[in-house]
Amino acid sequence: MSDRPVMIEFDDVQKVYPNGTVGLKDIDLKIYDGEFVAVVGLSGAGKSTLLRSINRMHDVTSGNLKVDGQSIVGYKGKDLRNLRRSIGMIFQDFNLVDRASVRRNVLSGKVGYYSTWKSSLGLFSAEDKQRAINSLKRVNMVEKLYTRVDELSGGQQQRVAIARALMQDPKIMLADEPIASLDPLTTNAVMDDLLSLNKDLGITVLANLHSVPLAMKYADRIIGLRAGQLVYDKPIAEVSEDDFAEIYSESHPVTGGAVHG
């Protein structure tokens, strides 16, 4: 992987929440262009914090964070919105507007590329309307174009959410426990969709997963967090099941995790 350009780079990143909780501690991490990285760790380990610092939904306390070579920690206003529109994000609870149609939800992924008034009046270009259809085709949901989101199952909603993120033409896709609310069957459909974005479109994928078998099945590389620290980082070929006992153990910090990169 290290022959590819670096897409995301954490340099001694710290995150302390206003109430004193440590979110991230001494994070040094490089994610390469086109990787599919699974992030694992106990609840509260800092997985969501890690993901959300990449699109600055959370600000880091200190250290540097680069996306595609640019330091993003000082971004404000337009720069920040431009960063965010280049990064797709999907969520455990899908975060779609239930009362709106699939089409409107998917198109809303593109608003970062439109002026306030054009988007508010719903003046999307013919090209983007076509793109919405193509995005939905990619996740096999195009027949639901005009359906209201609240009439869809959870798995279908997550696929619509992926289509919405695809509208952004993202370089990076952040997935925060994308399958935690889904049953095993739809889980595979959603994970397959993520994999195809990664393999066919070359989008760098960073996914928080609670399931080790899924992480092993889909990811190229697994990183483990524990109390805000990076305690594990191996390409999938070197991962063995036994490693996870350490990441998920309640006590003694792991020392053996090889940090590659």
């Binding site: 699109n55 939904m57 965010r84 507007v97 809303s108 608003v111 988007s119 919405r164 993120a165």
Partner: protein
């Protein structure tokens, strides 16, 4: 042993002390206010004669008066509609600025809420008197009265609705690079639109009823005619007006109710 599992009630619980004390205080307040306002129950019932006398005189409505009332009735409805619309349009930005989940700045929110609370303390009749004094007698005064009244009521209903929405879509839109206006348009509006329309109709209903009275203070509409007929003792005309108001209110209430039900 089983008996021990049943929890014991405290003295207060056992003898319903709170309920009894509450009832007693309520009765005391009732009696106190009757004494202080000088309600004379005897007088209240002897005056019933007058009431029945009025009713009997209203029993023969002057139906030919109907043609004359139609115009002011329509004016009343127009006043209510325009007033409610103006109030709503002003209420929208205010309710957004007052919503906790949209505006993180507590100072901005506090100032806006203070203004809204202030506006809501003004009784509509006081507003009417004020506007008649400012813009003169006529329906313009009525429209402004209803606009201010609707603004106070609707902005509170609106911001409380906004605060109940699911924040997930807001987060998703922000993460996609949307600016604040786009977040409102794409994530807030679709979630609140139905409730907003429903509250608009509800306020319109209230305003139609309220505006029938505003005429009393010279703020236009059917109330002017109501006052005129009463002060000239033309109870046959009063009867026509009362019936007309009743019909209109029933029609508007039921239309708006069925619309609101469909919006649920």
């Amino acid at each position: 042993m089983d008996k021990d599992l049943i929890p014991k009630r405290t003295f207060v619980q056992k003898y319903h002390v709170k309920g009894l004390v509450g009832t007693f205080i309520f009765l005391l307040l009732l009696w106190g206010s009757a004494v202080m306002t000088g309600v004379n129950w005897g007088e209240f019932f002897t005056n019933l004669d007058q009431f029945f006398d009025l009713l009997s005189r209203m029993a023969h409505p002057a139906w030919d008066y109907t043609n004359i009332v139609i115009q002011p009735i329509l004016e009343t409805i127009q006043m209510a509609l325009i007033g409610t619309t103006i109030g709503t349009l002003i209420a929208i930005p205010f309710s957004i600025l007052a919503a906790r989940n949209l505006i993180k700045n507590a100072v901005v929110r506090g100032v806006i809420r203070f203004i809204l609370n202030l506006v809501r303390t003004l009784p509509d009749l006081l507003l009417a008197a004020l506007f008649v004094a400012i813009v003169g007698i006529g329906s313009t005064a009525g429209v402004w009265t209803l606009a201010v009244f609707s603004f106070g009521m609707i902005s509170k209903l609106f911001y409380e609705t906004i605060e109940t929405i699911d924040d997930g879509p807001l987060e998703a839109l922000r993460a996609a690079g949307a600016n604040n206006v786009q977040v409102v348009v794409f994530a807030v509006v679709p979630q609140v639109l139905n409730s907003f329309v429903s509250y608009f109709l509800y306020t319109f209903e209230i305003n139609v009823r309220a505006s029938t009275v505003l005429g009393y203070l010279g703020a236009g509409g059917i109330g002017v005619y109501l006052q005129r007929s009463l002060s000239s003792f033309r109870y046959d005309q009063t009867a026509v007006i009362v019936i007309a108001i009743l019909l209109i209110v029933i029609v508007i209430d039921s239309v708006s109710n069925s619309l609101r039900e469909r919006l649920q």
